[in-house]
């Protein structure tokens, strides 16, 4: 068994930034483990631009953004072991991994940083009646096929779900000569960014069918078409509104789920809403010495926020292995209520937290002209009017230590109409 101070699982943007953060905070012995043949994570297949506006003040494509961090990790001499899948993490931080080069191996870590990202929600969970012919892919799979393997999934495409990946793929397929018949979405608004709706659909005249869903799949060997129906207020299809759309390819983009089997094996407590670990202001999970950041923690829209969060996790892990983690043992829990679905982090240590901490969360519905409020033990400490809040865009709140006073127990974020 080998031993390292900090072992990072996953070399996507989160893992890379965590490694840099840990080194810059003084950690020497850091190892990155990556299942894929190359570092970079999901960014390698996101060849569209729009990454890094916050961090670099320019619009990079996914691979370009990833490369800046890979180059930095290489400059710092931090090893990345690719082609290595972590199979298990024990609560006392022994990682079991497998790779073609080393076979099975066990690594003991002073601290572990979980950076496994997320995966797409499977279609199987969506219960659409009809056959299961070829030509049905998740949007992310289609993205990988086109951008990494150079394979065109189909000629006439329908897309179910208007998440960002679905929107990006509508444009990508159109540019490559496919006809995208439409993108449907159960709710009344797209769950993707406005910019993507305009630049991926409107630019090409692709219809966005809000309040619609696919209710039947047609075709035996290859997909031949789908039935699309309007959905009512109760989110159920309305009989009589069915329309047939012929297509040879159906993509679904119905959301992402943090990938946390390993976290569970390590005994890490998960948040039922985010599907990711519960963490404190240091991004420490419920298991000592195990940290988490990036999409494994909660699904981010912007990679810049992933990098920033990961750098903090790396620094916290570096302090942990040096035994510098001082904790007063006091803990203030952070929660969402009335329209705020969750809070990350889920708790802070009021004595050691930074002066200002950015708390992130999502809202449950679209709210126009409502207030975002923060209560500390039932007393409102902040009340800000927001022109719009929408589930597709993460909200942020800067929590100042002084708001917590001396004996705070609970902070609640909520949406209020007045």
């Amino acid at each position: 068994m080998t031993t390292h101070d900090i072992v990072i699982v996953g070399a996507g943007p989160a893992g890379l930034a965590a490694a840099i953060g840990a080194r810059e905070a003084g950690a020497q012995d850091i190892l990155l483990l990556e299942r894929d043949g190359e570092p970079g994570g999901i960014l390698n297949q996101c060849i569209h631009n729009g990454f890094g506006l916050h961090t670099f003040n320019e619009e990079l494509t996914g691979p370009e953004y990833a490369r800046r961090y890979i180059d930095r990790v290489n400059e710092l001499g931090i090893p990345i072991q690719t082609g290595t899948t972590v199979l298990d993490i024990s609560p006392d931080r022994v990682l079991t991994c497998t790779s073609r080069e080393n076979g099975f191996e066990q690594i003991r870590a002073g601290a572990v940083i979980l950076c496994m990202g997320c995966r797409e929600r499977p279609r199987g969970a969506m219960d659409i009646p009809g056959s299961r012919p070829a030509g049905i892919y998740s949007a992310g799979t289609a993205q990988r096929l086109m951008n990494i393997d150079g394979f065109m999934p189909g000629k006439e495409v329908f897309i179910m779900g208007s998440g960002n990946i679905g929107l990006i793929m509508a444009r990508r397929l159109t540019l490559e000569g496919a006809v995208v018949k439409g993108v449907c979405n159960r709710s009344a608004y797209s769950s993707g960014l406005k910019r993507n709706v305009v630049q991926c659909l409107d630019d090409f005249g692709i219809p966005l069918m809000v309040r619609h869903t696919v209710t039947e799949i047609h075709g035996r060997d290859r997909l031949e078409g789908v039935t699309v129906s309007e959905v009512g207020e109760d989110k159920k299809p309305i009989p009589g509104t069915e329309q047939y759309i012929s297509c040879d390819t159906l993509l679904f983009s119905v959301g992402l789920l943090p990938e946390n089997e390993l976290s569970e094996q390590a005994g890490v407590e998960l948040d039922a809403v985010t599907g990711g670990p519960t963490v404190d202001d240091r991004l420490a999970t419920s298991v000592p010495g195990v940290f988490a950041c990036g999409n494994v923690l909660h699904v981010h829209d912007l990679v810049d926020f992933v990098s920033e969060e990961a750098a903090r996790a790396g620094a916290a892990a570096a302090r942990f292995v040096r035994g510098e983690t001082v904790s007063s043992g006091r803990r203030v829990s952070l929660r969402g209520r009335n329209g705020v679905r969750y809070s990350v982090p889920q708790s802070v240590d009021p004595d050691t937290m930074p002066e200002e901490l950015t708390v992130r969360f999502r809202v449950a519905d679209q709210y126009l002209g409502c207030y975002l409020s923060c209560y500390v033990d039932g007393v409102r400490v902040s009340h800000k009017k927001k022109r719009i809040m929408t589930p597709g865009e993460m909200e942020a709140f800067v929590l100042r230590r002084e708001m917590l006073g001396n004996d705070a127990r609970e902070v609640v974020f909520c949406v209020e109409e007045a």
Partner: protein, 121 residues
Amino acid sequence: MAQLELTCIRCPMGCTLRVTLEIGAVTAVEGNRCRRGAEYAATEAVHPVRTVTTSVRAVGGTRPVVSVKTVPEVPKDRIFDVMAAIRGLTATAPVHIGDVLLRDAAGTGASIVVTAELEKR
């Protein structure tokens, strides 16, 4: 005088902007809930541009394709001409971020620039 409808992309409100153009310049914007909408309309209504990102065939590399983008952006109504010019390109590994595969694509003045590293197989 011409009228034009746009969706502002500067924030999730997505205001519908009704833009009035006179001799190629924006003279009035309605429907914007804030100043940023008018700023967006001023360029988007007159000279909309986009960065085109796609991939080209690659030979001798660890992957069969490599990603590229236009630098600078190209006029929105030239996107498909630029795509046609890109479709004829082949990259020979190794290629690196920043390598230029084509200059003045479809007469737009934009270069086709590699956006990923591709090693030799």
